[in-house]
Symmetry: C2
Subunit: 373 residues, 2 copies
C-alpha cells in the first residue's frame, strides 16, 4: 500500500522569522524614541500556566503573560540578555546557519565593557531566554535555527530529501539513516512513503534486532529510534509522518515508569515544553509495549524482572495521577506494575530466544491490536 500525503507542511522562511525578531527590536527602539520604558510581553512558562487540554489531548500553555521591562532592577539583566540572544538568533537567520543551545550561550557571552560583569554566567541563563523567545514569537526552536542532538535513526519504505540529497531509507543497510536534528520542511522533505505505520523504539538494541531481521519489510513499517528519550528531530519526524502521511505511531518502551513517561511526552508533550506540544505532541500515539501484563502473557520468568525501588514506586504513583493517564486501561496497567513490584526491560524478551521480539512478540501484539491508548 502506498500512503498518500494529505497536506504539505510548511515552515516559516528565514525572512519571516527575521521579521518577527525585528519586530521585537522595533518595540524596544520605538519605546526608546518615545522615551518610554522598553517592555514587551512574554507568555508565562510556569506550571501555573500549563494545563492538559482534554479536547486537544495534549499539554498546552495558558494565556498568562508577563511584561519584561528594561527599567526594572529585577529585570534589567534579563532584558539585556533577551536582546543579546535575539541578536544572535538574527545572525543565524541572516547567515542561514543552525547552531546548538550551548553555542548560542558561548556566542553571546562576553564581559560588559568597563565592568567585570559577564552577559551570561552560564547556560542556565541563556536557555530559558531562547525558550522565552520561542514562545513570544510562536516559533519552533528549529525555525530559530537552534538544533537539538541528532541521535535518531530511521529505516523503512520512505524516501526523504535531506539537504538536497535524496535518500531511500529502505536501502540503508542495518545501520540506517541518521535523523538530522532539524527535520522541518525544506531541511527534510518526505518525498515518498509506502509504510502502514511507524514503530518508534526506545532503545538501540531492539532497533538493531528489528533492522537485522528486516522487520520493517515483513510488516511494512518505518522503524524509528531516538536512543532513549526521543530527541526533538525524531519526535517531529514522527509527528510529520502522522500528520502528513496519516501513519499510526506505535511506541515500544521498557516497562518501567520512565518508559511510561517517555511515551507520555511523545503523546501529550511535556510540561516544560508545553508551548511546543502543538507541533510536537502526537495525541494518537499508542503504547504497544512492554506492558506490565506482557511478562505473564509471553511466559517470561519473574526472575528477569527488576525490583521496583522507592523512586520507581513514587514515580509510578505520580504518573497514575496525571490527568492524561486516567483511562481505565492505564490505571490497570500502572496498578499491575505496582502490584507485581517488578519492572521489565524490552531486552528480557531475549530470555525466550534472541529473535523472540521479531518472530513472536511483535507479530502477536500487532495482530491482536494489543496496545494502550
Amino acid at each position: 500500500m502506498v500512503a498518500l500525503r494529505v497536506k504539505r507542511a510548511r515552515r516559516r522562511t528565514n525572512k519571516e522569522v527575521a521579521a518577527l525578531l525585528e519586530g521585537l527590536a522595533d518595540i524596544v527602539v520605538g519605546a526608546a524614541r518615545k522615551k518610554e520604558d522598553p517592555s514587551f510581553d512574554i507568555p508565562v512558562r510556569a506550571l501555573s500556566n500549563v494545563a492538559f487540554n482534554p479536547k486537544k489531548r495534549f499539554i498546552e500553555m495558558g494565556r498568562a503573560k508577563t511584561a519584561r521591562q528594561f527599567f526594572n532592577l529585577g529585570m534589567a539583566r534579563k532584558f539585556m540578555q533577551t536582546m543579546l540572544i535575539a541578536d544572535a538568533l538574527m545572525e543565524l537567520q541572516r547567515e542561514d546557519v543552525t547552531t546548538s543551545l550551548r553555542e548560542v550561550y558561548y556566542r553571546t557571552k562576553h564581559t560588559i565593557k568597563g565592568t567585570s560583569e559577564n552577559t551570561f554566567d552560564d547556560q542556565d541563563e541563556s536557555d530559558p531566554i531562547i525558550e522565552d523567545l520561542e514562545v513570544t514569537l510562536a516559533l519552533l526552536r528549529e525555525e530559530l535555527h537552534v538544533r537539538a542532538k541528532s541521535w535518531g535513526t530511521i529505516i523503512g519504505p520512505i524516501v526523504i530529501r535531506d539537504a538536497g540529497d535524496t535518500v531511500d531509507c529502505s536501502r540503508q543497510g542495518i545501520g540506517g539513516k541518521t535523523v538530522p536534528s532539524i527535520v522541518e520542511p525544506g531541511y527534510v522533505d518526505i518525498l515518498r512513503c509506502s509504510a502502514d505505520f511507524v514503530l518508534l523504539v526506545e532503545k538501540d538494541t531492539q532497533f538493531s534486532r528489528l533492522s537485522e531481521d528486516k522487520f520493517w519489510k515483513s510488516h511494512n513499517c518505518i522503524l524509528l529510534t531516538g536512543n532513549g528519550q526521543a530527541p526533538r528531530g525524531v519526535r517531529r519526524l514522527a509527528r510529520r509522518l502522522h500528520d502528513e502521511w496519516k501513519l499510526p505511531i506505535l511506541v515500544l518502551m521498557d516497562n518501567d515508569p520512565w518508559g511510561y513517561y517517555i511515551y507520555s511526552v511523545i503523546k501529550q508533550g511535556s510540561i516544560s515544553l508545553a508551548f511546543e506540544s502543538e507541533r510536537l505532541a502526537i495525541p494518537d500515539a499508542k503504547f504497544l509495549g512492554l506492558s506490565s501484563r506482557d511478562p505473564e502473557e509471553y511466559g517470561l520468568p519473574r526472575n528477569v524482572g527488576i525490583k521496583l525501588n522507592d523512586k520507581d514506586i513514587a514515580r509510578a504513583k505520580e504518573i497514575a495521577g496525571y490527568p492524561w493517564f486516567q483511562k481505565k486501561e492505564w490505571q490497570q496497567e500502572i496498578l499491575y506494575m505496582l502490584k507485581s513490584g517488578l519492572k521489565y526491560e524490552l531486552d528480557v524478551l531475549a530470555n525466550k530466544n534472541f529473535r523472540f521480539l521479531t518472530t513472536d512478540y511483535l507479530p502477536k501484539k500487532l495482530k491482536q491490536k494489543d496496545w494502550l491508548d
Copy 2:
C-alpha cells in the same frame, strides 16, 4: 585524489567462530570422559597483565594465564556460567544473528532446577565472561556477534556496503549515515573511498556544523562522530580506514582531561579492553584540537573557559603520568592546561562566530599541521 585500498580485511566466518567455541566444549567433554577435572586456561585480564608496548605503541595484554576449573569451589559457578555463555554465543553463530551484552545476560539467566539459585544475578556477572571468551578464543566481540551501541554517524566521499545495500555517504544530506554497531567485513564493506583523511569529531554539535558547511567536501575528508566517547563501531571503522585505505586519522575533542582520555583510547586502546587494542587502537592517530594553547592562539576570551575542578586536576596529572603521554609536546600541553586552570569546550569557538570552526580554526590547524602526536 582517489585513495587505493591496500589490503582487504577479513573476519572469521561463522563456521570458524563456531569451531573455536566447540573446541572449548570439547576440552570439557574430553576431560569428563577421562574422568579428569574439566579446566581450561584464560588469559588474565587484570592491570597486572597489561602494559604499554612502546614498539607497537598501544596497550597490550601480557601472557599470564589462569586455569578455570570446574572442581573448585571458588570457580564452579564461574565455570558453569562460562559454559552457558559459550552456548548462547554458539546459538548466535548457528542462527547468524547479533545481540547485545544485556540480551546475552537475559538469554542465559534462569533459576537452576531444584534450587532457588539463578545462573546469573546481574549483568556484572555475564559481561566479564563474554570478555573472558573473547580473549581466550582471540576473537573480537563483533566476531562473536555481540554488538555495542550504534551511535555513530559518517559523512564524506566514501561508498560502503551495509548489509547488502550500497550507500554513498556523500549523498546523505546533513544528517549522514548511521554507523552500525558491527562494521566487520561482510557486515560493512568499504567499496570506494577518495578522502584524504578522517576527521573524528567528539561531539554532535561540531559534526553538525561541519556537515552543514560541507566541510568534508571543501577539505576532501570523511567526518565521523561517536557522540561522545566513540563506540566500538566508530573506532573499528576509523581503524579500517587507516589500515585499508591509509587515511590519517585526526581527532577533534574538547580541551579537558576527558578529551585527552578519549583520544588516548582511540590511539592506544584502553586498559580494560587491552586485549582488543590490536584491532581497535590507531597508534598513528593525531590530536588536532582543542589544544590548551588554542584559546590564546585563536583569540578566545578567558571567560569562556571553565575552571578546572579538583577531579579535573587529579585526572590531568594522572594522564600526564601515563607512559604514552611522555612526549615533550604532550607534557607541555597538559602542563599548560594545569597552569591556566581552565578547560575549554569545542563549542567556545562559536564565541567568535557561528562558523568559526569551519572557516578559520580547522583550515589554519590543518594548513599548519598543528596537531599533537
